[in-house]
Structure formats: structure tokens, C-alpha cells
Amino acid sequence: MTLLSVRNLRAYYQTEAYGISRTVQAVDGISFDLFPNEIYGVAGESSCGKTTLIKVISGNIKHPLKVLEGSVIYNFNGYQVDMLQISEDELRRNVRWKQISYVMQGSMSVLNPVRKVIKTFEDIVRTHEGITDKKKFLEQTRAHINRLGLPTDVLNAYPHQLSGGMRQRVAIALATVFQPALIIADEPTTALDVVVQRGVLHMIKDIQAMSKNTVLLVTHDMAVHANVTDRMMIMYAGRIAEEAPTESIFNAPLHPYTQHLINSLPMIGEKTTRTSLGGSPPNLANPPGGCRFHPRCPHVMDECRTVVPDLVTVKERHRVACHLFKEDSV
């Protein structure tokens, strides 16, 4: 059973200013599935389209972002939701926060600066379930954050009184008030120190282990993926380059881009020279034809320049989009 299945998703930014129109092909033909009870990672460099992908699957599509084709279908224990068709009202009432919650990039600033933290909890619970008994609500909220290892007094603090790490953990506590089926965490630990990052990621892992739901973890930091996710995809220039269980990605990467990414990671205790790829990630307003990685690829072939490689399954649960690999070649 799948929780989410995304098929052939194409989402572009279309802007026009003073007669100059620009199209940024941020998500260009992406298909993948999410299953219950897993931590799925999305990795990629800046402006590879990962944030756009998150926007689309969380139903947060606003001008100038436009979905051109594809489908995003959820199945929450039999409750089917087509993210691209659902009405704003139904989305708000039945899906948001109850089924899908979100830990945002820059979560440090998601809390209203002029209200106490408890008020944000109150707003969320009141909107989605209603509060009849204020005392009971307070008790439940306290129990909830204590369960997540946060001290009770954060509730009565204003956001600016909390440290960055604490605010991030509050954001996670907010995301888990209703035990949603999917928690989307977009760069949840960027800008946090390693020790705090470790604490926050532990918290996410613990919550997932407790409630057996699905966590979609988006981060550019490969080392985080290595330690947290079960399965992951590597995005490059708006497309999936490779998707596999995390161990395979790190131990047996297939796509030349993935290989390079893994090999260039420095490690404590390893001083051998590591090299970078030449060139730069393409501009998505004007991407190269064929495989978008071909200008930087050490194994580039003629067909790479013209033919877009399909994402093919080469092993069990291991898909790669590269002309070096064909469905039956491995």
C-alpha cells in the first residue's frame, strides 16, 4: 500500500515582468512513491527543485508556481486525496495538519513573534478539533511536549526567548499534535549547530518510531541522510537522478552524479584528496538538453546530449536515470 504516489509531475515557475517572461523548470517529470512507516530522504543542491517538489505535494501551490502535468495522489488509510484537484476548503479542514504536517525550512521564524508559544498550539487545535475544555487542552499539550522531551515552560515563553534549537523542537512538537500520516521536514536542521542538530534529528527519529508514520526529510546535507533516512532520492536540476535505500546510495551509488557527491564528502580520519565536479549546476530557466547532468558528467556519451534518460529500476528498490544503465543491464 502506498501513502503517496506522485506520477510524472511537472511544475514550473512562470513569471513575467516588463515584458520579459521567464520559465523555471523547477520540477520536471518526477515520479515516486512514499510508503507508511518510513523515513524518506530528498537530497539535492540548492535550486535543484526539492523545495518546489515539497510545495506541490503539500498542496501549497501559489502563483507563480504552476503544475503543468502529473498527479499527486494520497491514500490516508482509505481516504483518497488528489492533491491537484482537492478544494481549498477540504484541504484545510481534512488534510492539513491532520494528515500532513510540515516542519518548514527556517522553522526558527515560524512562530508568531508577538504571541506566546501556547497560543500557536491553541490556534491549531481550535481550528482543527475545537477546544471545549481549556484545562484539558492545556493538560494534553503539556503531556504532548513532555513526551517529546521538552520542558513545560516553553509554552509560556515568547519565541524570542527560546534558542534556535528549542524553537525548532517546538515546531516539531506543533507538527505532531494530531499524529499525522506524513510529516514533511524541509531542511529542519540547516543553520543549527551539530550538537543541536543531532538532538533535533533524534527527536524526529523517535517520533517516527513511536507513531509509525512517514517522514519526508529534505536536506542538502548527505551526512544527515546517511544517519537518518531509510530510503532516499537524489535530485539534480529538477529531476530524480537516483532513488534507492540509503545504504545502497552510500555504498553502491550508480549515477555518476551520486558517485561524485558521495566521494567528495570529507570525513574525519580521512585525508586523501577529494575533488569536486567541474562546472556548475544548470540554470533551470535554460537547462541543457538531454540528461541535464551531461555537461559535467565524466562518462558523457552522445545520446546523453539529446535523449532524456528514463528513471529505470535496475535492482530491487533501486532506480537510476542514466544512459549507462538499462532496465536489464544489471
Binding site: S58, N60, L91, R92, R93, V95, R96, W97, S101, Y102, M104, G106, S107, S109, V110, L111, N112, P113, V114, R115, K116, K119, D123, I124, T127, H128, Y158, H160, Q161, L174
Partner: protein, 337 residues
């Protein structure tokens, strides 16, 4: 609390005193920069006007003027004398209505100005901010777009013109409101009579409407540009993703934070708003400080103009100070450092 006093209160008090100090010093310096000897100019102007004052009165006036301008002694002495008179609340006699003290006349006119200004200011601030926020949160709404255009129109035009347009339209072409004054000529203010209060209110409609309209436009436009930034703040985007109701987001997340800079803006704008009220009074012949000022101009009543200037500076500075004091009530970031 001690921290609050040290870090917030004391700097504000210093600021308040600086404001008054610089303002008053300015009014002290300005007359001294004038190329002519103001005393003789005044006296000769009075005589030229053929005032039927006897020589003794002219001498008294000359003495009063010399003291008023503080022209005896060295500049430093003059300056201290100037301040010491201010502390005694002595602004000298009015030259137009010699020898009624200036402070007494201002004291009579000021309530009219304040009764008009304060409610108009509050109403325009509240409504302007409310609709400004609304219009940036619902950019598609037609009615709000119309309001926005109106707001921009009145905002860009000087007070005086708005007042005149209202006056011409509503008391000349469509005479539904009285032409000028705060009550019919010949009536004596009688605050115990309901009839008087009603005519008073009727006379105040147009002046108040001018103030509210112009103020509304300003706050509307300011709030709109402010909120359009706040809307893209993380915590607002978050509130939307969370699925909160729009009304909840608008009030608790957008307006509440936007209100804070607008409160500061309110304090900053008081001087301008006060000036606007003076002009408006002139148009409507409303018996407040503005009318007093214009009469003073026409009758060459220098001490009155000086007095009004000083009063305005102290009044506005005090109002700004009070708003500053209120600010921490609304912003927890100031309250808990």
C-alpha cells in the same frame, strides 16, 4: 522591571527632553536670525496700522516686546531668561488682544482642536489600518480596491484642498452642512444644552470628515505596504500551511504584528497631523488653535504665534512620549528582553 526602566524608559525620557529642548531652542533661534529688529518692526507696524494706542501703551508694548523676544542682556542671558519664563508658563500678553495673556487664549481654543483631533486620529488610525491589512490580504476584492484608489487619492492631496472640496460640495452645492464655525454665530457655548451640543456636532462633521479621510488614506496605504511584507513572513506562511482560518491569520498573525510599526508611525506622524488640523480649522473657520493662529497672522500678533508654536511643540512631544510608553504593552519583545 529595573532593566525595563534602564533600557527602555530612561532612553525615552532623554529623547523626550531632547525633543523639547531642540524644538524650543529652534523657536528661540529663529527670530534672532531675522534680518530686522523685530521689536521696532512690530511697533512701527502697529503704529502704521493707526492703532489708537496712546504713547504710554506703545511704550508698555515696546517693553513687553523686548522682554518677549528676550532681547535684553547677552545671548546666553537671553537664552536662560527665555527658558525661565517658559518654566513659569509665561508666554507674554497677546498683541492682538492686548493685554490678555497668550496662554489664556490658547487654553480656550485648544479644547476645540483636541476634541476634533483626537477622535479623528483614533478613528482614522483604526479604520485605515484595518482596511489596509484587509486589502493586502484579499488583493482580489473589488470593493477594497476601490477603497485603495480613494485612499491613494486623498493621501496625495494636501489637507487644505480636501477640506475645500468637502466644503464646496457639502455646504455650497449640496448645503447639508453648515458653512463655518463650531456653532452658529451669536450663540454662546452652553455645554448643558442638548441643542447646543447637537449643532456643535453638526458643525464638526465636515472638519472631522476631512481629518478622518486624509488620515484614513495615509494609514491605509502605509498598512498595505507593511502587511504585504508581513504576509510573506515565515510565520504567516506557516499559519496558512497549518490550515488556520483566514480570519484568525489576519487578526492574530498579520494585524497584530503590523500594528507595532504603525504605532511608531502614529507617534512620528503626530506633528504632521497636528499641522493638518490647524489648516483644516482655517478652512472651516473652526474656533481652535488653527483659527487662533491665522487671526494672529492677520493681526501681527507675534507673541501669539510664538505661544502657539511652543505649545504645539510641547504638546506633540508629550503625545509622542505617551505613545512610546504604551508601546511595550503591545510588544512582548520589548517587555521581556
Amino acid at each position: 522591571m529595573r532593566k525595563f526602566v534602564l533600557r527602555y524608559l530612561i532612553p525615552r525620557i532623554i529623547q523626550y527632553l531632547t525633543l523639547i529642548f531642540v524644538g524650543i531652542t529652534l523657536t528661540y533661534i529663529i527670530p534672532r536670525l531675522a534680518p530686522t529688529n523685530p521689536v521696532e518692526a512690530q511697533v512701527s507696524m502697529m503704529i502704521a496700522r493707526g492703532s489708537s494706542l496712546d504713547p504710554d501703551a506703545i511704550e508698555a508694548m515696546r517693553a513687553a516686546l523686548t522682554e518677549l523676544y528676550g532681547l535684553s542682556g547677552s545671548p546666553v542671558e537671553q537664552y536662560f531668561a527665555f527658558w525661565s519664563r517658559l518654566f513659569r508658563g509665561d508666554l507674554g500678553p497677546s498683541l492682538g488682544n492686548f493685554p490678555t495673556p497668550v496662554s489664556e487664549m490658547i487654553g480656550q481654543a485648544l479644547p476645540y482642536t483636541l476634541r476634533l483631533l483626537i477622535p479623528a486620529l483614533i478613528i482614522s488610525w483604526i479604520f485605515g489600518n484595518f482596511f489596509g491589512a484587509l486589502s493586502s490580504y484579499y488583493p482580489e476584492n473589488k470593493a477594497l480596491n476601490v477603497v485603495e484608489v480613494l485612499g491613494q487619492v486623498v493621501r496625495s492631496i494636501p489637507y487644505y484642498i480636501v477640506a475645500i472640496v468637502l466644503l464646496v460640495v457639502f455646504s455650497y452645492f449640496i448645503p447639508i452642512f453648515p458653512f463655518s464655525g463650531a456653532y452658529p454665530i451669536g450663540t454662546r457655548p452652553d455645554w448643558s444644552s442638548l441643542d447646543f451640543i447637537l449643532t456643535y456636532l453638526e458643525h464638526s462633521v465636515l472638519p472631522a470628515a476631512t481629518l478622518i479621510l486624509v488620515g484614513f488614506g495615509g494609514w491605509f496605504v502605509g498598512m498595505k505596504s507593511l502587511t504585504s511584507n508581513i504576509i510573506s513572513e515565515d510565520y504567516v506562511v506557516y499559519a496558512e500551511i497549518v490550515g488556520l482560518k483566514k480570519r484568525n491569520i489576519l487578526v492574530q498573525y498579520i494585524m497584530r504584528t503590523a500594528m507595532l510599526p504603525q504605532l511608531t508611525a502614529l507617534a512620528m506622524s503626530l506633528g504632521t497631523v497636528f499641522s493638518g488640523a490647524l489648516i483644516m480649522e482655517v478652512v472651516f473657520g473652526y474656533p481652535g488653535v488653527g483659527s487662533l493662529a491665522i487671526r494672529a497672522v492677520y493681526s501681527n500678533d507675534y507673541s501669539m504665534i510664538m505661544g502657539i508654536t511652543i505649545y504645539s511643540i510641547i504638546g506633540v512631544a508629550t503625545a509622542v512620549f505617551l505613545i512610546d510608553l504604551l508601546y511595550p504593552l503591545f510588544d512582548p519583545r520589548v517587555r521581556y528582553q
